[in-house]
Symmetry: C2
Subunit: 330 residues, 2 copies
Amino acid sequence: MTIRIGIMGYGNLGRGVENAIRQNPDTTLAAIFTRRDPASLTPLTPGVPVCRASEAERDAWREKIDVMILCGGSATDLPEQTPKLASLYHVVDSFDTHARIPQHFAAVESAAKAGGKVAVISVGWDPGLFSLARLLGQSVLPQGADYTFWGRGVSQGHSDAIRRVPGVADARQYTVPIPEALDAVRAGEAPQLTTRQKHRRECFVVPQEGADLERIRQEIVSMPNYFSDYDTTVHFITAEELRRDHSGIPHGGFVIRSGKTGRDGEHSHIMELSLKLDSNPEFTSSVLVACARAALRCAGEGQSGCKTILDLPPAFLSPLSGEELRKNLL
Amino acid sequence: MTIRIGIMGYGNLGRGVENAIRQNPDTTLAAIFTRRDPASLTPLTPGVPVCRASEAERDAWREKIDVMILCGGSATDLPEQTPKLASLYHVVDSFDTHARIPQHFAAVESAAKAGGKVAVISVGWDPGLFSLARLLGQSVLPQGADYTFWGRGVSQGHSDAIRRVPGVADARQYTVPIPEALDAVRAGEAPQLTTRQKHRRECFVVPQEGADLERIRQEIVSMPNYFSDYDTTVHFITAEELRRDHSGIPHGGFVIRSGKTGRDGEHSHIMELSLKLDSNPEFTSSVLVACARAALRCAGEGQSGCKTILDLPPAFLSPLSGEELRKNLL
């Protein structure tokens, strides 16, 4: 059976889901829903229906779609969309505001339970695969310390914060893990690291004509929450250089568990998951599609309600049967 | 509720499980079962009962033990013990003969189903966490290539093979991944690698007095299956040097998925799980104990039958509640 997927929201993430569907022969794209004018979209997939977002609530679509993947933003889209659609469809989202996950979970849980549907939230790599790595590390090595490093990669939030500084025309910010900190963790030293010791921030800024560069630099490096706790470098470049050298959206990072075992903790162990991603949204989209498969498998077992990647039997992410997995992968 | 664990077999793995139980406050050691004379064992845990293996089948023990962890070897112990005990207890084993896993699964599945018990087989790091990493890699990046490298670490099988060469008193073999191969994979080059290009083998051999060293070296490096497909180095050392420098049982390795996404596969992604383990058996034991917890959680949901780590919701490995996991780990 082919899994018929609907995409809600056609930005970077929605286009990534469309591409990921093309890589997974057991999935097919049923429809794209958008809040923009449907006629303004040109999907990659020939002949795919493009509809207004409000149409997703119609019964006609509910019969044609097995899983709806929600590709909106975590700030305002998903807190509203996921609970609303989770009573109508099995859904998957990439809600990534860590502090608000419990609240989002509660809202989605009651909607999904009410509709007898499965909702998988906060899917991607962090939250997502990195959460899974943290869980495995803590469960297998209860005596130890956790480290998550991000980057080298583009932080949209920090780039946006720079763009709000007066005199800035455009900007791109890279989060960069500090190699000495990574090395110390990997050597099993279990160091206590400050924010400044773990990451530095590198900013590429296109100033408006005639702007005071030194004032811009000062405003950036002293910005609370975003930059003041970090060593921050600011490079001023042209719009052309930004387009040429910084148009990609790479990211990645490292989750490391450093733990001890033995009679007196005499043996050290290091578990590390690392990701190096050319395209953050495309990788996230790929995880979303695998989780759509898992949502349907959970539903097939009669389950309903809200889940995260920590609740999904990993085998459900794969198109292979249990028998094939045991024979070829185990 | 404390999870009462029984240990069947008190070698390196059994002692590792005993140590891991001491690190997990929600678990306790109920009894150790051994085929040796129980009086000959001196467990670390004060007052723990040590019993003959055959006693494990008595009802009195079945009431006192929640999960039995089977710490025997994959060659002859587990193929017999796991099916036998899986009808009496929830069990966890570390069966690691990859080619025979389907057969072992079938035998354990019918026993566990018959007894209404949950059995988790082939737990550890490979098979185990490495299998999970391969599954995640293939599921998230269906267009890509998989690589598993082992080491630097001690291979018991290869060490044993050397010890069978006439004139060898003792030996220790290290499997060593080749850095150039690892680098090429991590660079996203998705190279096709021969056996010889991925690993080399390093042997530390204690010869018997008067043995012909060159003949021993030739017999080792030309041994089919074990060494002939690899570049193998043989170092002759004294028994004292072997004891001093090679008494540990370190291991580890790398599972790397190199994949592409995008409209035309224009974006590369690298997912990598790496393990660096001071003690192979103690780490495996730590995974066994986490899976004992998961077995009991599955049983609590009314499940029965044989499972592998690919079937377990990761959250079941953790002593934390779903709420705590979402708040702190996700």
